[in-house]
């Protein structure tokens, strides 16, 4: 394992420190591993977070028009409630705070406990749960769908809605609308390596790829032979279309790299996805191509579609300025 690190135990804190040094409007709060805006927004606060290893998520989305604070757990591990509470405090301008949680039981348990305690402190808190990964069965019995790259859109929509001066219930409703309309599907060509583990999270043969793996290196739905970019675009979007009817709608498209995928390959995949969408009468209003929700050093990509109505389109295109995403302005 070769990584630019000092020690596996220090990667989370040093990453956040490095982020704050690059972005003077942000503050790093050590120990609780929170990144927050130095100046509070005066609006409903948006807080997200989760395990580390998904950079630029989540700390990279703190900034004007998106998150007010992000809370980092250890690698692939939910942050604990004490950290989340600090994030909530930093985001709170007295107008309430919305937590954007990815659907993992660890995250939910920690965020819900934090929410409870923050409420006892007198902060109005609510939450939404992102579950966009169509690789996983949508079941109410089990934990159900994971939250993956679509979370970036939920951050954007919630942050833009908050920036309009909307109240907590309105911000939550916008975030819920984004969640209802966003779907993602991913594939990996090489597994990620946790700094503390030192070897890849799963094994793939010379010509094998993993379809539908999780962003923590959880095994996928099935393995397949290496596919061309064209075939891959079809494989991934077929999963999306089987789950949700995007035909003849307008959408936002995110072609997301998992950390070690060259941007070149993401653009090639983007060209293929655009072609498929066109053939279905789907109009792409906005495209993002890049590393937005990664899995440390995994090689691979995911495709996310969010169906837009007038409100979502307006919120999506509203300006935001964060280290990880800049739109409009």
């Amino acid at each position: 394992m070769k990584k630019i690190i000092n020690h596996p135990d220090l990667v989370v804190s040093e990453t956040l420190k490095g982020l704050a040094l690059a972005e003077p409007t942000l503050e790093y709060i050590p120990d609780v591993e929170v990144i927050a805006k130095k100046v509070k927004s005066g609006r409903v606060g948006i807080v997200s977070g989760g395990g580390s290893g998904h950079e630029p998520a989540h700390a990279g989305y703190v900034g004007a028009g998106m998150l007010d604070a992000a809370v980092a757990g250890n690698m692939f591990s939910s942050p604990s409630p004490d950290r989340i509470i600090e994030g909530i405090r930093r985001a709170d301008s007295g107008k309430g705070v919305l937590l954007v949680i990815k659907n993992y039981s660890g995250d939910i348990m920690n965020f819900e406990l934090a929410e409870e305690i923050a409420r006892m402190e007198g902060i109005e808190v609510d939450h939404v749960i992102v579950r966009d990964d169509v690789a996983v069965e949508d079941s109410t019995y089990s934990t159900g769908r994971r939250g993956i790259a679509g979370t970036v859109y939920v951050h954007k929509i919630a942050g833009a809605k908050a920036a309009t001066g909307a109240d907590l219930a309105e911000v939550k409703a916008a975030a819920e609308k984004a969640i209802a309309n966003v779907r993602s599907m991913g594939m990996a060509m090489a597994a990620c390596t946790l700094p503390a583990v030192g070897r890849p999270n799963f094994e793939l043969g010379e010509n094998e790829i993993e379809i539908g793996m999780g962003i923590h290196g959880e095994p996928g739905v099935h393995k397949s032979e290496v596919q061309s970019a064209k075939a891959l675009a079809k494989t991934l979007t077929d999963f999306l279309f089987a789950d949700y009817d995007f035909d003849n709608s307008r959408v936002a498209l995110l072609v997301n790299g998992l950390g070690a995928t060259p941007i070149m390959e993401l653009y090639i995949l983007n060209a293929e996805v655009h072609e498929i969408l066109k053939s279905r009468g789907i109009r792409v209003v906005h495209t993002l191509v890049g590393n937005y929700m990664t899995s440390i050093d995994m090689a691979g990509a995911s495709v996310t579609l969010m169906k837009l109505d007038d409100e979502l389109e307006e919120l999506l295109l509203a300006p935001c300025r964060t280290p990880g995403l800049k739109i409009g302005g």
């Binding site: 250890n74 996983v136 946790l194």
Partner: protein, 212 residues
Amino acid sequence: MRIDSQLYVAYLLRAYELIRANETYVTDLDLATGDGDHWANLNKGFAKLNDLSEELKTLPLNALFQKIGMTMMATIGGSSGVLYGGAYIAAGKKLAGKEFMTAEDLRDVLQEMLNDIQTRGKAQRGFKTMIDALAPAVDAFTAGLEANSDEKELLGSVKRAAEAGAEATKKMEAVRGRATYQADKGVGHLDPGAVTMAYQISALCDTVAETL
């Protein structure tokens, strides 16, 4: 049976040893069905408890449990951090004013932990989680107390029940935790959280049994 803070901390150190000795094994279990961090998470928590052990020994039992809970929650993180943390904090409330735990107290504590984990995790027995090691251990404890078993024997049966429970997760389909994302729901693999729960129960039983 007379478990005071001193003895409970001795148990923690023994559990830490057992966990440390099984790094590769436990990591591999979580790599097979989850994200590979369970050992690292838990080890970090116990390492922190180890660092704090001198201070912990001096605390009254309820404060000890409260402190263990806060420490585990903050240090372990992830699912197991909040589950263990919440369980210890809940159990600590049962220990107010107590200088030591009797066998009945220990059973009650484990029962309280089980309840808290089930509520917080929205999980039942058979979901292929740490509950599948803890629940049979609590059952065995209750049965042993009802049968008025010899305390050493009782502890032996609790330990065996936890281990058998962990072993039984192999054939279960996961309903909670990351193994649910696998096509086969993790069938054929032990649940790492159940295995490390069994380590802890086993270390606890051994530590206490040696004082009898």
